[in-house]
Amino acid sequence: MVEPQKLEPMTREQTELYRKRQRGRNKVLGIVLISFAILFFAISIVKITAQTGGAG
């Protein structure tokens, strides 16, 4: 059986950099997901409007 690799504890600077990278990725992922939701909402509205001939 392979022994799990033991990891050294990170220094304070390394931890800060790790968290900074995580925050950066989370922010970008959040922006992408929100944009995706808005895009699908807009596509749905356009398709519904096209199918109903724009009638209210």
């Binding site: 990170m10 790790y18 950066g24 922010k27 596509i43």
Partner: protein, 304 residues
Amino acid sequence: MDSGQTLPLPADWRDFFALTKPRVMTLVIFTGICGLLAAPGHIHPVIGFTAILCIAVGAGGAAALNQWWEADLDAGMKRTAARPVPSGRMDRTSARDFGFALSGGSVFTMGLGVGWLAAAILAFSIFYYAWIYTVWLKPRTPQNIVIGGGAGAFPPLIGWVAVTGDITLMPVLLFAIIFMWTPPHFWALALFVQIDYAKVGIPMMPVVAGERSTRHQIAAYAVALLPVTLAPWWIGGAGLIYGLSALALGLVFVVLSIKVGTRVSVPGDGMLPEKRLFGYSILYLFVLFGMLVVDRLATVQGWL
């Protein structure tokens, strides 16, 4: 003494962005937009935006898969050694997963939002670049660029199909233009970076067939490209603005290519004609496709 390892740093989001080859993507987006705008018919701006977004994201996904597969080769070349995976800033698995996610996401969004024919062509273009070109042809044949050029030729075709919903001769001609343009464009680059390719064993034309043969083929492709670019005008798919622009741009391209095709480089050569041809080839494609849109706009507005 064995130094212990800490938890690996997660890749920065900028490295994921770099994985999509943003500079190549600008040409992909531009030709995709041109195909979309030059096509006869109307597309809602939201659907048009979605189509271009999917083309761009699909191209980014294919680029990520390319870099996942070629990480070892990239590490051996000066031009590519600083990319996220070979430089160690990102692990290969992340690059692979990112590539598959972008590819799958773009194809499904294209299918649901724009149309399944455009989505099918997009899926095939990703497969073409990531598998047929990257995995299959690039390491096997010096004709890799000729056939691989097809991968970059899909965006205007997809943009056109997004509007019309079917494939006619015009979008196939737009595909053919980029297909024929790619060899002289890329071989001009390969001539001044050939040492890199030779080092990692990629059979690029200058490495395998020699510089002389490559130069002749650059000139031959440039000459053959000219009638292909004029074909949209001849068949009536584009007007005078496009036709005259294609003729003028094409003649300059032929002249620059013949200069490259007929010269012999010497040790310590700055390779200026090759660099000039490479730079012009990019400008050429931007202006040619731009003129196609201007021509269409002029026709719709009744300026001609």
